[in-house]
C-alpha cells in the first residue's frame, strides 16, 4: 500500500507540475461558470442580464432543474468532458507509460521490491487520475450550480465521475499499449486518437445503419397496417403505391439487416465510448420530465433514413428504445473485456521485456 500511495503522490506531483493540468481545471470551472450565468424563465433563456426568447426552451416546457441537467449532460459531459477535456487529458498523460519505460527511469523502479504487474497497473491507474480529478471538479461545481440555480441537489450528477473516468480508461488503455510498445509519447497520442476516431466512426456508422433498419421496419409495418385497415380503405391508386413501397421496403430489409449485423458485430468487440457517456442521459434526463436528446434533436444522421409514413417522434422513440435495449452490462461488460485485453497485452509486454 505504501508503494501504491507513493506512486499516486508522485503522479499528482507530476500532474500539478504541468501547466496544462491547471489550465484544464481552470477551463472546467469557466465552463461551469458559464452554466451558472445561463438561466431559464417563462419567455426563454437568460444570460446574465439578457433574455433570448424561445418557444422550446422556457419554464413552460422545462424545469430549471432539467434545464441545467440537460446542459450538464449535453454540453458539459458530451462536449467538454467527452471530447475537449479528454483530448487535454490524453495530451497530458500520453507520456506516463513512455516515461515509465524510459531507460534510467524504469531501472529505478524495477529495482524496488514491487512486482512488474503491480507497478505497471498502478502507473496505468495514475493516468486516470487526471480525468478523474477533472470530472470531480466539474461535477462538484455543476452540483452547486444546479442546487443554487435549479433548486435541486442532484447527487446522481456524481455518476459522471466513474462513467467519464471509465470512458477515459478505455482510450488510455490503448495509449498505454502503444506507449509500452513504442516508448514514444507522440506515437501514443497519435495512435490513440486514431483508434478513438475509428471507434467513433464505427459507432456512428452502426447507429446510422441501425436507424435505417428501424426506419425500414417501421415503414413496412405502417404500410401493412394501412393496407389492412378496413375502417379507412384506400383507393386503388394509393393501394398500388403502398404495395410498391411495401415491396421496396421488404426488398431492402435483408440489406439493412445484413449491414447492421456486421456493424453491430464489429461494434460488439470495440469499447462503447459513445454508449458509455450516454448512460448519463439514462440516469439523469430520463428521471426528469424532459425527454432525452434524441427526441429533441431536429437533425442527426438517422433523419436521412427517416420513414415517410411514421411520425418523427415515434421513429426517434423507436431508435432510442432500441439503443436502450442494450443493457448497461452489455455496454460496460464488452468495453471492460476490450480494455482487459488491451491492458493485458500491455502488461505482458511490460513484464516480459528487458530494460
Amino acid at each position: 500500500m505504501m508503494q501504491t500511495i507513493a506512486i499516486f503522490v508522485g503522479a499528482y506531483r507530476e500532474l500539478s507540475a504541468r501547466k496544462i493540468f491547471w489550465l484544464a481545471l481552470a477551463v472546467s470551472l469557466l465552463v461551469v461558470a458559464l452554466f451558472a450565468c445561463l438561466g431559464i424563465n417563462e419567455t426563454g433563456i437568460t444570460f446574465i442580464g439578457w433574455t433570448f426568447e424561445s418557444p422550446f426552451f422556457s419554464t413552460k416546457t422545462l424545469s430549471p432543474e432539467t434545464f441545467y441537467k440537460s446542459l450538464f449532460v449535453n454540453l458539459g459531459v458530451d462536449w467538454w468532458l467527452g471530447v475537449l477535456s479528454t483530448l487535454l487529458a490524453l495530451v497530458t498523460t500520453c507520456g506516463i507509460i513512455p516515461d515509465l519505460v524510459a531507460p534510467g527511469s524504469v531501472d529505478l523502479l524495477l529495482a524496488k521490491p514491487i512486482t512488474r504487474t503491480r507497478l505497471f497497473l498502478t502507473k496505468y491507474c495514475t493516468g486516470l487520475l487526471f480525468a478523474a480529478l477533472q470530472v470531480l471538479v466539474f461535477s462538484t461545481a455543476t452540483f452547486f450550480v444546479i442546487g443554487v440555480r435549479g433548486g435541486a441537489w442532484e447527487w446522481t450528477l456524481f455518476a459522471a465521475v466513474p462513467i467519464v473516468t471509465f470512458f477515459y480508461s478505455l482510450l488510455f488503455s490503448i495509449c498505454a499499449l502503444v506507449g509500452v510498445l513504442t516508448r514514444s509519447s507522440v506515437a501514443s497520442l497519435i495512435l490513440t486518437l486514431l483508434a478513438w476516431t475509428i471507434i467513433f466512426t464505427i459507432n456512428i456508422s452502426e447507429s446510422i445503419v441501425n436507424s435505417g433498419r428501424i426506419a425500414n421496419q417501421l415503414e413496412s409495418t405502417a404500410i401493412e397496417a394501412k393496407l389492412a385497415n378496413t375502417d379507412t380503405p384506400v383507393d386503388d391508386d394509393e393501394r398500388e403505391e403502398l404495395t410498391n413501397d411495401l415491396a421496396k421496403a421488404l426488398d431492402r430489409r435483408p440489406t439493412w439487416d445484413r449491414a447492421h449485423f456486421w456493424f453491430f458485430g464489429v461494434k460488439t468487440f470495440l469499447p462503447k465510448t459513445t454508449d458509455t457517456l450516454k448512460l448519463l442521459d439514462r440516469w439523469l434526463l430520463e428521471s426528469a420530465s424532459m425527454p432525452g436528446r434524441d427526441e429533441d434533436s431536429s437533425r442527426g444522421p438517422q433523419q436521412a433514413f427517416g420513414p415517410k409514413r411514421v411520425k418523427r417522434g415515434e421513429f426517434q422513440r423507436a431508435v432510442r428504445e432500441d439503443e436502450q435495449s442494450h443493457s448497461i452490462w452489455w455496454i460496460l461488460g464488452t468495453s471492460v473485456v476490450f480494455e482487459g485485453i488491451i491492458l493485458g497485452l500491455a502488461t505482458v509486454v511490460f513484464v516480459r521485456r528487458d530494460y
Binding site: 505504501m2 508522485g10 534510467g104 531501472d107 529505478l108 524495477l110 524496488k112 513484464v351 528487458d354
Partner: protein
C-alpha cells in the same frame, strides 16, 4: 517476474552476492553474459571492471531484476535473484538515471524510500541525514531541474542509501562529478563499507576502483576473465628492477651465465641514457642479493633498486587485449 529459482547454496552465507552460470543472450545473437560467476564478500567494496559492452551493466541489471537472465543460479543477500525481501535491502544507483525533474531532492529520496517500503517517519529522518551527508542539505527543497549533473548524482546516492541497505550497487557513481566531489564520494563509499555494508562498484575509472576496492573482477565479452584482490591479480607481474650506471653487464644477456641468478629470471635489460635498467620477473629481495653482490664486485654503481608491480590499468589492458593479435576485444560477443 519468473526468474529462474535454484536452491540456495550453504556457502552463500559468506557472500553478499554469489552468482554462478549467469547467461543472457539478447535477440538470439548478442551473448551479453556467457556463464558469469561473481562472488562478492559481505562488507567489502568490490569493483566490477570491463570495457564498454563487456556485460557489466547487464550483470548488474540481472541482479536488480531489470533484465531477465536465460539462466542464473546463486543468491543475492542469501535470497534468490529477484526476491523482494532482498531487493528491499539493496540500494541501487543506475548509470544514466533519470529522476523526475519536477521533484525536489528530498522528494526523490523519500520516494525511493517509500518504494523500498521504508515507513514514513524513518524515511523522512533518513532523507534529511543522507542529504546532509552527500552535501545536498542546502538544496534539498529545490527541484531537480535546477541541479547540475554532479548534484543529481549525489541525490541518487542518497536515494540509494535511504532504505539502510545491506548491499549498495552503484553504476558509475562519479559520472559527471568534479574531482572534489569524486573525493567526497570515495570517502562516502569507504564510510558505507565501514558501516558494514557491501558495495558493488561498476566504474570505468580505474584509479577510483584501485583506491577503494578490496577486490575486483574484470569482464570481457560477457565472461569473467579475472576476479580477486588487486594483489592477487597482479602478483604474477611482480618484478624487481635494478638501475645501474653504464651499459648492461654482459652476463645479463649471456644465456650461459643467467642460471646463476636463481630464482629470478631476467626479462629485460634496457639502456636509459647513461644508466641501464635490469628487470627481473618474480624476484624478491632475498633473490636479488646475489645479483647486487655481483654488480658491486664488478664495481658497478647501483642507482636504484625497487619492487615494481603491474598497475590496475596495466592489468585491465592486458585483460582486454587479445594476446594473439594484440588488438582490443570488440564490445559484446556475437554468436
Amino acid at each position: 517476474m519468473d526468474f529462474p529459482r535454484q536452491p540456495v547454496r550453504d556457502s552463500a552465507n559468506d557472500f553478499a552476492i554469489d552468482l554462478a552460470d549467469v547467461h543472457k543472450t539478447y535477440g538470439r545473437k548478442i551473448r551479453a553474459l556467457q556463464g558469469v560467476t561473481l562472488q562478492v564478500r559481505a562488507g567489502e567494496i568490490f569493483g566490477l571492471l570491463g570495457p564498454n559492452g563487456a556485460g557489466k551493466s547487464t550483470l548488474v541489471k540481472v541482479m536488480m531484476t531489470i533484465v531477465r537472465p536465460d539462466t542464473a543460479t546463486g543468491t543475492v543477500l542469501n535470497r534468490h535473484v529477484g526476491d523482494p525481501v532482498a531487493l528491499a535491502r539493496i540500494g541501487y544507483l543506475p548509470e544514466h538515471h533519470r529522476f523526475p525533474t519536477y521533484l525536489t531532492g528530498r522528494q526523490v529520496v523519500e520516494f525511493s524510500g517509500a518504494m523500498s517500503k521504508v515507513d514514513r517517519p524513518t524515511r523522512k529522518k533518513r532523507a534529511s541525514e543522507l542529504l546532509d551527508r552527500v552535501g545536498m542539505g542546502g538544496w534539498k527543497d529545490r527541484p531537480l531541474a535546477s541541479y547540475s549533473k554532479g548534484m543529481r548524482q549525489r541525490i541518487g546516492l542518497a536515494a540509494a542509501l535511504v532504505n539502510d541497505p545491506q548491499l549498495v550497487v552503484l553504476d558509475e557513481p562519479t559520472d559527471g562529478v568534479d574531482p572534489v566531489g569524486r573525493r567526497e564520494i570515495r570517502d562516502l563509499l569507504i564510510g558505507i563499507r565501514d558501516e558494514g555494508r557491501t558495495v558493488l562498484l561498476n566504474s570505468h575509472l580505474l584509479s577510483e576502483i584501485e583506491n577503494v576496492c578490496s577486490r575486483v573482477a574484470i569482464m570481457v565479452q560477457g565472461r569473467m576473465v579475472a576476479q580477486g584482490t588487486i594483489d592477487e591479480l597482479t602478483s604474477s607481474s611482480r618484478r624487481y628492477e635494478i638501475v645501474v650506471e653504464g651499459t648492461a653487464p654482459s652476463w645479463c644477456t649471456d644465456s650461459a651465465s643467467i642460471h646463476m641468478i636463481p630464482p629470478g629470471q631476467m626479462i629485460a635489460a634496457g639502456i636509459q641514457g647513461e644508466s641501464c635498467r635490469l628487470i627481473f620477473l618474480g624476484l624478491d629481495a632475498l633473490g636479488a642479493q646475489p645479483i647486487l653482490d655481483r654488480l658491486r664486485a664488478e664495481q658497478r654503481t647501483v642507482i636504484a633498486v625497487q619492487t615494481v608491480r603491474e598497475s590496475l590499468e596495466d592489468l585491465f589492458m592486458r585483460a582486454v587485449t587479445d594476446p594473439t593479435t594484440g588488438l582490443i576485444y570488440r564490445p559484446g560477443a556475437v554468436t
